[in-house]
């Protein structure tokens, strides 16, 4: 190894194994001096490059990580809430649309219909069974027998279907039968508002609402309709 090799090694790779160089350095004062100068230079360079690091840097990094982790957790939670809220909204929207055809919505429609056409309650007609069945034929239903004095019988629209509006005399007050083909209900349900009470019965082609102010009349006509009304 000559002086040029030694100096090249020391200048390019200060971490180079010194043992290889020691033999030359032991016999070359110039290179030995160069080594000392190089070591001094490396020390100054290292000192210059190893600047002070701001106090608390490590703590700030760790704190930032903790805050970021909390923020991510909060964002994930918010995302789940947003998804849950969307699902909730969707369910309610669909449920709301379905609710229009549900018996509970239908009962309010039926009650309102009677209120809106309350004048039929005061008709004085005496409609025979045959005439009544003539009206009911349009709805594919019939009564097997007379179940009460019929004072009104007509066709009307209830929601989106054509229905039948029949008023019969009860013991104390008129009883309305609303025949609603196409409006299906799964089971008998009660209903009421401030003026009337009633029940909705399922029939083969839809449902029948029986509405009265008097509970006794209601029970009588509910039984009678179950026994005598049939779909043709």
């Amino acid at each position: 190894m000559n002086c040029l090799d030694v100096r090249r090694i020391l200048s390019t790779d200060s971490s180079h194994n010194r043992l290889e160089l020691e033999e030359h350095l032991a016999s070359c004062s110039s290179c030995a001096r160069f080594v000392v100068e190089t070591e001094q230079f490396e020390a100054v360079l290292s000192e210059a490059l190893h600047i002070d690091v701001p106090d608390g840097l490590a703590d700030r990094i760790i704190l930032s990580k903790s805050m970021a982790a909390k923020r991510d957790k909060r964002q994930r939670r918010n995302k789940y809430f947003a998804i849950a809220a969307s699902l909730f909204l969707t369910v309610n929207l669909v449920g709301g649309l379905l609710y229009i055809n549900a018996p509970y919505a239908l009962d309010q429609v039926a009650l309102r219909h009677v209120v809106d056409e309350e004048h039929h309650l005061y008709e004085k007609n005496n409609i025979q069974l045959a005439q009544l069945n003539n009206v009911l034929k349009a709805l594919n239903v019939r009564l097997d027998k007379n179940i009460g004095k019929t004072t009104y019988a007509g066709l009307c629209h209830i929601r989106k279907y054509r229905g039948g509006h029949v008023v019969m005399q009860g013991k104390t007050s008129p009883v309305t039968l609303l025949l609603m083909p196409g409006e299906y209900v799964s089971q008998q349900a009660s209903m009421n508002n401030s003026k009337f009470s009633g029940v909705i019965l399922p029939i083969k082609n839809g449902s029948v609402a029986i509405i009265s102010k008097d509970k006794t009349d209601l029970e009588h006509y509910t039984r009678a309709v179950r026994q005598s009304l049939h779909v043709i």
Partner: protein, 173 residues
């Protein structure tokens, strides 16, 4: 505290200073250097499960930092550096520099071309060998040695004056 948190904090305490120093000399701004190191450790935290060998942690962190710096410069072009240079030049002694000689050295380090400064920083601050630097920078070990040599040559000229010029020019032949 779970194991991952413990590992992360250990990495922060072990390497935050070297990373900061490297970042500072690359971007010449204290605030930016701290931001870069913060960002480096945030990314490291998110990818900690990918670090399989703890011995590779330092090189891994330096790689993340280098990428963050590159991303920063792509986004911001040269708009910041000129202002920071002026600030640096006008505040001798700002970095704990005791005298004008050190001030001149620091300015010279800053003024080194990137391809010279980077191997120097990785060698002196990172403590990497030429072979390791070659892998990090994806260049040949010979190129690392040449660039490190040229960086030191320039800095030596500043520090020691022209006294060593003749010796150094003899070596470079």
């Amino acid at each position: 505290m779970d194991l991952q948190h413990i590992e992360f904090e250990a990495l922060v305490h072990a390497y935050n200073k070297d990373l900061y120093r490297y970042a500072y000399w690359q971007c010449k701004s204290k605030a930016l250097a701290e931001d870069m190191v913060q960002e480096t450790f945030m990314r490291a935290w998110k990818a900690l499960d990918k670090l399989e060998n703890i011995k590779a942690a330092k090189a891994w962190l330096f790689t993340i930092l280098r990428r963050e710096l590159a991303r920063h410069y792509q986004r911001n072009a040269a708009s910041e550096s000129s202002l920071e240079e002026i600030k640096f030049e006008n505040i001798p002694g700002d970095e704990g520099i005791g005298d004008i000689e050190h001030f001149n050295l620091n300015r010279a380090i800053k003024a080194l071309p990137d391809e010279y400064r980077e191997p120097l920083l990785l060698q002196v601050i990172g403590g990497y060998s030429c072979d390791e630097i070659a892998k990090i920078l994806d260049i040949k070990p010979g190129a690392v040695m040449t660039r490190a040599f040229r960086a030191k040559q320039k800095l030596r000229q500043v520090l020691l004056g022209n006294k060593s010029d003749s010796k150094m020019s003899e070596i470079s032949k």
